[in-house]
Structure formats: C-alpha cells, structure tokens
Subunit: 629 residues, 2 copies
C-alpha cells in the first residue's frame, strides 16, 4: 500500500465553472450534511472566487452564507478553503492593502481555514502580502502556480516560483491547472521537484477536465508526491468542470494508494440535490455545452471553456469579412479558414504580448487581440491598430509583471501613443480605503458587523453591497429568474405561427416590499431596467439623449468595429455630451465587443454636435457614432 | 527522446460508437485524402464490426465500399484494420467455420491489412481459428483482450490470456478497453508483462473515453511499452467515443515520446467533413448525449454508454413499482432509490453469472437480469424467476466459456428446467454453409463475385444481403432518412396549438425504380412497414390476426412484464396460432423488453383459443396475451 491521497470537493467551483451562480445559503446548508456523510472528503471548497459577490447579487448577506455553510464542515473536522485572487481579492480589479488584510481576518472568523491565493500573471509580488495577512489571521496560506503551456512556462519556471512562494512563507502549494491544459508528465516533474526540496509542504492539485489531460495529470502528480486532489461530482463533473470523484478514487485505488471509500448512498443524495438546485433556478444560468470536453483549443493553448464565445465571435466577424469580400469581388472565407487564421494569429500574438497565462481575463485579451488583428489586416489596416484599454493595462504592467518580454513593436507603439510602462508594485496604486468606507457606513447608519465583516463586504464590493442593502439586488435577481423561467416555458410550448411569443413583464415601475436580513424595505424598481441587470455598465448615465445625426452638422465619427455603443466604461467616468469641446486623441466613446471596451478616440478636435446612439445600442462597423464640428 | 508511438484513427468506430451508421462510400472516398494529409496516422480502422452490414442496410455493396475506402490508405502506406467478432464474424450470432475462413481471404483481397479479433467472453477457443485463417490469408492477426474490471479479471488473467494468444500465433495484441473501464495502473502492468516476455510483439491500445480513465491509461500503457494508440477526433471524440488525437499527441510529446506532428489544416478539413456528413444524414442517428462523459457506472462496472437506456428502463419500471406500492399502501420509491437497488443487484448478480466481461451484449444481459430480479422481488416473487433465453444461452456456455463459475443456485435452476450445459467448442454447433449459399446463388443466377466476395456477404448476412439485392434495403433506408428529417423539421417549427404535427408519408404501397450496383430494379414498398424497419424482427408473420379476448373462452395467459408482444423471435420459428395444442412449458410468445426477448411459457396445457394482440403491440404487466382452454 502506497501513501494516502486525500480529496477535496470543490463545491464552489463546480457551480462557477458551469454557470454564473452558486446555490443559495438555504440550499447549501441542506446539502452539507450529505457531503459530510459521503465520508471521503478531507476538504471542501466553500467560498471565495465569485461566492461572496454572487450572494450580494441574490440580495443575500454573504457573511451569513459563509458562516452557516462552513459550520457543519468544521464540526465534522473537514477543512474549508476559499479562492483568493491576490491583488484582486474577491473581485476583478485591484483591492487596497487594508481591505486585503481585513479579508483574511473576516474569513477566518467566518470559518474558512485555507486561503488559496493566485495571481493570474504569476507575479509573486501580488501574492506576497496575502501570505503574510492570511497567516497573521490564523489561516493556512496555500499559494498557487497558474498553469499555462508555453516555451517559458517550463518545469523550471514553476519549480522556482513554488520555491519562492514557500520561502516567502506559503504553508502549501496549489497546482492550479484552471484550463486543464497542463501536461501530465511535466506536472509530475514540477511536483517532484517541490517535494524533493520541501517534502513536508502539502501540495494540492486543482484541475479542469476540458481538453482531457487532467485524469492522467492526477495520476502523475500523485506518483510524484501530491497530497490532495480536487474533484467534482455528477451532474457537474467533466467538461468545463472537474474530474469526477468516482473516476479519481477508482484509479488511485487500483494504483495502490490509500484512498477513502465513498458512501454511495450519500453520493446519490448529493447528486440528486445538485440536480434539484439546478432545476430550481441554477440551471437557468448553465449552458449544457459546458459538459462537453474540448481538445480543439490545445494547439493555440486557449482554455476550452472559451469555445462557445469564440465561435460566436467568429460568426459575427466572418459575416463582416465576407460582406467586404463580396464588395471587392474576392472569394468568400469559410468559418474553418477564419478559425485557422485566428489560431495562427494567437500563435503570433501570444509570445509578443509576453505570454500572460491563458486564463480569464488574459486568455480573452489574447484571443481578442488576435481576432482584432485578423480583422484589421483583412481591411488592409495594420496589425495592432486596435488595442483596448484593458489590454494596454496588462501590457503596461499595471496588473503585474508579464512572464515574458513584450515585443519591441509594442513597446514602440506604447511610447508613440504616450503610454507609460509601470514598473512598480501594482498594489502601490491603490491607497488604503477602510477609513473611507467606515465613514460612509457611519453616515448611512449601517453597522460594521461582527468582526467588521459588513465593513469588509462594503469595501470589497461597494456598488453590489449598496444594491444588496437597498433591496434592489434581490428584486432584480428575482425578476431575472422569473424572466428566464418564462422564456424557458415559452420555448417549450409550440406557439401559433402568427403570434410571436411574448413574455409578460411589468412595464411600469413597481413598488415592492423586500425582505433584507429580516427587515422589510420598500423599493421601487423599473422592470425595463432589469434586462440590463447583467450588463457590466449598470449605472450608464441616462442623461445623454440620442440626438438625430444631422447631415452636414459636422464630421462623422465612425464605429471602427461591430459591437455595442457606450459613452463610458464605468459610472465614475464623465460622459461626453453634445456641446463638449474635444481635442484629437480624446476618448469619445466605447464600442464593446467580445467583452472588452474599445475606446473610440477623436481623430480631430472640435465641438460635439450630435451623439447618434444611446448607450447599449448595437452598432455595425462604419456606423456614425457622433458628429464633431 | 523516448521511442516512437504511432497512432491509428479508428474512423469506423468513431461513427459506430456515436450512432448506428457509418458514412457512405462516396463520403468515405472524399474524406480519405484529408485523413492521409493529416500526416500522423500509421493505421486507420476502415471496416469490420458493423461496417459491412451497415452498407447492406444502405442498399450499397459493402465489397465495393471496402475496396474503394481502403485503396487510398494502401497507396499512402497506411495500414488498415478491421474489427472481427471471432465466432460471430461480422454479425451478432455464430458463423460457420468455412464462412469465417473465407472472410479473411475476402478482406485481404479487398485491402484490409489487419484483423483485430475479439471474443466478448475472452474465450480463446473462439479466437484460435481466426488467427490461423487470418494468417493463411496473408493478414496480420491482432488478438484482443476485452477489458473489464472484476476480481477475476486480474493483471495475471490478462497477461496469461495474451501469452496464450501469442503462443497460438497472434502477430499482435490489442488491449480492447471498449467501456474505458480499465484502470490505468493495471493496464500498464499488463502491457509491461507482455512486453517482458515478447518485446517484439506490437501492442495496440484501444479505448473509449466514457468514465474518464483512458487518457491516463494511454500514458501508462505507453510507459510500459505500447506501440500503437487508437484515437478519435472532433466532432466525435470523447463521451462514448475515443480520446482526441490532439490531447494524446500533446501529452505524449510532453512526456518525451517521438510522436508524429499533425497537419492542422488537414485536421480542420477532416473535422468539417465529419460535421458535413453528420448534417447530411448521419446525425439523425446520433444522440447528443453520446458526447458526455459518465462516471456513475464505474461502481457497478457497466459501460457508460448504457446510461441512456438504463435511465429509460428505470423510468418505466419505477412507474410499475409505484403503481403496485400505491395499491398496497406502501411508500413510493424514488428513481435514485431504484438506481441504488439496481447497482446493488448488479453487484450481486455479476459474480453469480460468472463475470462475463461487461460489454455488449453481456453488459445488457447482466443489467437486465439485475433489473428483472429487482422487479420480481418487489412483486414478492423469487430472484431469478425470469431469465430470457439469450441469457440462458450465455449461462449454459453456448457462446463460450464464462470467465468465472456460475452460482450453484443457477446450476440447479438450469437442471430443474431441463436445460443442458454445453461444454464443447461453440463453433461445433454451426456446420459449414458455403455450399448451401453457393447453390442458392446459382439458383438465383447471382454471381459469387471477385474473390467470392458476394458469396461471403450472402453467407455472412443472408437476410440483409437479399434485401440489398432486391432494392428493398435502399428504399427502406431512404424512407427512414426522409421520415427522420421530416420529424426534425417538424420539431423545429412552432406548430399551432390546435393542430398536432403530422408527417406526410405515403400510406399506400409505392412502386419505385431503385439503382442497385448500376442496375435498375423495380420494387414495391409499403411505407407503413418502414417504421418497423429497424425492429429486430423484420419478417414477423402477419398471419396472426388479433382475435378479441373472449371472456370465459379459456384460461388467461398474462404478460409477466411490460414490453412489446411478439409471437416469434425470428422469422425461422413457427408462430403459435389459434387452435394449436400446447403443453406445459411450451413457448407461447415473447415479451420484448430492454432489447431481450422474454419467453412466455405455458403454465398449463390446452388449445389456444385466442391471441389477444398483434406482434409489436405494447403490453403492460398482467395484460392478457392469450387464452388457452
């Protein structure tokens, strides 16, 4: 008998790699005893990642959810872990240091034992404070190597990164193979190297099934000394999810490892509760395609979970390419030809942007850049002639150090555009903020909560916390669920040919009573808004009425690509208005495409005479966006 | 750099593990050059298994198909292989020795290089003649170990089986992991043991993805010395199919093996042609569920591909169980409870029926027996009180020797029912038949064909060959495609609420001209028949008109289970008619359920006074089938 391998059920990630949401706390506390009864888990991933934010979106208190959901595991002697995005904490943008520090104190108090910290760029500077803060708070600090596959992401690179993290104080190492793209043999080598130097440091392997490597990787890392394996279970295993517990347990048992037995009756109980939660509302946010494996993206190195959005991007762009080709009497391009062109361009782009690990959002950035290059070149324009601001931020080092070197052509381009490279520690750009939020709470007469947990949530997710407190979040969430249910019902029943299906939704603002933490709030919600609830720019100023484009009223600003028109990227920016004076190079507006905001800059100075669209409107390439005189 | 690993594209199995059919020869010859252009295959699986039979069902000549499809690979220096069911040749029932012998001569002449022979029970006696015949015909004889997971299917068992096959003359060994249930470590041990004794014997690993072990198994068998790996490709990889070429190649390359590079442009060409063939007609026969992985059946050991039919069986039987429970005021059973009961019963049944490898049809037999036991016991009857004849044949040794020992209770039951165990060589029950078919062809003035290939096909698939020659097969196939296309179209469009969807099909017999091998035949087809085209009893005698069940007209024969009523299992049997005298124990009729025919035997002698149903009618448990006085 070989040594023991322990399992962790990544219950939080099971849901979030399938769809947008996680179960509600009432559902979680119902399933917890059955998970414990399965008798085979040393650990469970309970929170972190999007968990807390999703609870706010439900209109529920994440602090209550984490406390109630971790409690039964604690009592059963099962360790709980959370996903921590290092500099980004529990969101997608950088978090001030004092908020990060409070984060670990709060989560430890709420019952989370282990902080699994990662930086999407593998910049150790972003991870270092988390080690210190987590340990100071009494948590186990588990630090992650984000696995990608490139000539610079070698066994040596990852080994050195792990050793550096351990030397900085990491208690454990997580091999975070979030696209499942790690190669089994190399992963075994990495684990072997770490264990050779630090045999007592526990290693946990986290992987997704996507391209099909991960079961082999699990065997290899176990053979090399790995201690914990993250698993999923039916009906959410495989595809964009994880390897199934049953497969992993059977494989390791056959290979001679000591593995826990599984109480199959409890397994079936958990399995049917997961299905029940999906049938309740969670399935409304889960694409069945996420259960499929995908190997096609192994070549370009992109995560398989991206296949759906990639194909839809391709479709739209192909249409645009072929419109142009028809006009110029050129032969039409097929979808496969475009797909191959895109793969080749990804292979060209990725090294030149310094090999950021191909994980969200960087995988999107690389794919978008490649597709933008293909499109621009098709139109006879230069490669790199359109780079979104978010992508520039990554290239300039604002999110952390790129693993590889930026191509000289991009360095030059940055300089030519007057963009500055950032060499410092990204954290330094974000001053402490707790005092500000404490003051705000005081003004609003809101309690900072047990262990300052309300203060923490407010500082971590300000807008969403406010929407939760006002009750707006709950109303919008319930309306969205109702809307999707109605759509699903409508899709099921055969509709008469002559009457198009319509969904009954209130069209006038509704006054409703909403229960928030036991208190009843009276809120007014305009249901027309709710269809935009999921849009990234929730508080787009409505103050820019669409003025008709008056011909001859100025020079036209044309849309450089197909997408959605927005005046600002987020609510804190000031929107351009009719009458404003703009100078060459100023950002006029944005065209959102493929989840990035592409700034449209003024090519000439003048006064804005018309804004021809409303925020959120769909635009085609070369549509008139504004006029300037 | 480690040694070289070669790939085989199992193009035939890719289709047949997804659905019923394979592409037509015109499609195959179009895709062959692109497969060659991919530049990474040493071998391609071209035919065997259901390939030849499917061509007959299309109304096409399989001999022409095999010759045209193997030719380009031959010219490109790529070896072709076929699947051979040993005693069962290219069908599901035993084949006379002289037909088996001719089989290899014909296939070698048609351009197939390698015969991959397997016996579903791993009875070497069934494989031995294939080795002799294949080698005499100039083919490479590759013999298979059918992998299943049980206490008696040990590494030692498979090692010994392989050594025995090699000593009998097998040129190569195939590790046939047809349910993907083989455990990676043990498979590596088996390969290592064979290579230790016979390092020069090539080993090819064939596997399906289903439960998720096979990528790990591929790495393990390669590490142990395996030479060839069978792979699939998009859009038919994973799920009930195979590991994807891209994953396997990338994994082995990383592990240091010499592997061929893949021409991705050609890959994309093949990929889109496969999709095109699916869009043409093949997709009409493919369930999208077959792309899903499935780990739930690892416990009971059943192949994951069985999940769909198993859940539908469960649903029907659960209804019947709960009807009974409602009647008796007992609490209702949930589907999960029944599923666990079934899994437990499989665990009980499988050892007792001698551990037949869990592969079609034996996996079905074991599952059906278990479900039947659960149902009978639920009704207060004995375990084993209903065993279908096909299952008895397996238990009695008629298909070959069972790997394990039959339970004493079943041995006794067989004796009590006067059933005889068969200890001899199964082949001995099937006398030579070529002379008979040669004579028949002579009478019909049909040519025996180049290399006697027409004679071979007639002797291998008599009924289907006749249907092909008459043109009936083609008409029925085209009608079925048209029917499914119409259904699909109908399902797509929203129908008015008040008019149920109907599909326009001719209801009167049609006279049509059909092209068969370049000759035009005039055939008459009644389209009403075509909906039964796929039913296993195509020529059910229509001579048993349904007589009304006259009360008091005799004692009633009740249906022992839910299913479909048939008078005979196949056309060569004589059906019971009204007026026939029957004695206790005589087979009266069959109830087909879960793909097996359950004989209904007379519990008393007498004269048949009424047959209450027509062949093919659905029956519920306890429905009156016949009356006997």
């Amino acid at each position: 008998m070989k040594r023991e391998i322990k399992f962790s059920l990544v219950f939080r990630d099971m849901w979030q790699s399938a769809g947008k949401y996680v179960p509600r706390v009432d559902q979680l506390v119902r399933v917890a005893p059955a998970i414990i009864e399965m008798g085979c888990f040393a650990r469970v991933e309970t929170n972190g990642g999007g968990f807390e934010q999703v609870n706010l979106l439900f209109g529920e208190n994440p602090n209550k959810a984490v406390r109630e959901w971790t409690k039964p595991f604690h009592e059963a002697g099962i360790q709980t872990h959370m996903l921590d995005r290092a500099l980004n904490g529990l969101r997608m943008s950088p978090v001030p240091a004092d908020v990060r520090q409070l984060f670990y104190k709060v989560k430890k108090a709420q019952g989370t034992d282990i902080a699994r910290t990662f930086c999407g760029l593998n910049d150790v500077r972003n991870i270092a404070p988390s080690i210190k803060y987590a340990k100071a708070a009494g948590m186990i600090s588990q630090c992650s190597l984000c696995i990608t596959h490139s000539p610079i992401h070698t066994v040596e690179y990852y080994t050195n990164m792990a050793l550096e993290l351990i030397e900085l104080g990491a208690d454990e190492i997580c091999i975070k193979d979030m696209a499942g793209i790690g190669r089994p043999y190399s992963l075994g080598q990495i684990v072997g190297n770490i264990k050779a130097k630090y045999p007592e440091i526990p290693i946990q392997y986290h992987s997704h099934a996507g391209p099909g490597f991960n079961v082999a990787s699990i065997l290899e890392v176990c053979n090399a000394g790995c201690d914990y394996i993250d698993v999923g279970m039916e009906p959410l295993s495989w595809g964009t999810g994880h390897a199934d517990l049953l497969t992993v347990q059977a494989m390791l048992k056959d290979a001679g490892y000591k593995v826990p037995e599984i109480n199959m009756e409890a397994y079936m109980k958990v399995r049917s509760m997961v299905q029940e939660f999906m049938d309740d509302f969670l399935g409304l946010y889960i694409s069945p395609k996420n259960r499929l494996m995908n190997s096609l993206l192994i070549g370009p190195g992109l995560p398989g979970g991206m296949m759906g959005s990639l194909m839809s991007d391709l479709e739209k762009n192909l249409e645009s390419i072929n419109k142009g080709r028809t006009k110029n009497n050129k032969p039409l391009m097929t979808q496969d030809q475009l797909l191959i062109k895109l793969f080749d361009e990804v292979a060209f782009v990725w090294p030149r942007v310094g090999y950021p690990p191909l994980v969200t959002p960087f995988s999107q950035y690389v794919k978008n850049l490649a597709l933008m290059n293909v499109m621009q070149m098709e139109k006879g324009k230069e490669r790199w002639s359109m780079i979104a601001d978010d992508i520039w931020d990554m290239l300039l080092g604002k999110a952390g150090r790129l693993p590889g070197k930026l191509a000289p052509e991009l360095v030059e381009k940055a300089k030519a555009e007057g963009r500055e490279f950032f060499e410092g520690n990204p954290q330094d750009n974000y001053p402490d903020a707790l005092d500000k939020y404490r003051k705000l709470m005081n003004e609003k007469q809101w309690e900072c909560g047990q262990d300052d947990e309300e203060l923490f949530e407010y500082a971590m997710h300000p807008a969403q916390y406010e929407a939760y407190r006002s009750g707006k979040a709950k109303v919008e969430f319930l309306a969205d669920v109702a809307h999707r249910k109605a759509e699903k019902e409508e899709a099921k029943k055969p509709a008469p040919h002559d009457a198009p299906a319509t969904i009954a939704m209130p069209t006038t603002p509704q006054v409703m009573n909403v229960d928030v933490n036991g208190q009843t709030y009276r809120v007014t919600v305009a249901f027309g808004d709710t269809t935009n609830a999921a849009a990234p720019v929730a508080s787009q100023p409505a103050s820019a009425p669409a003025a008709p484009a008056a011909a001859g009223n100025g020079k036209e600003v044309l849309s450089p690509l197909e997408g959605k028109f927005f005046l600002v990227k987020n609510a804190s920016e000031a929107a351009v208005k009719v009458g404003d004076t703009v100078k060459e190079g100023d950002v006029l507006c944005y065209v959102e495409a493929m989840k990035t905001y592409n700034a449209v800059r003024a090519e000439f100075g003048g006064t804005v005479t018309a804004i021809c669209l409303s925020p959120g409107d769909a635009v085609s390439e070369d549509d008139v966006l504004m006029t300037i005189r």
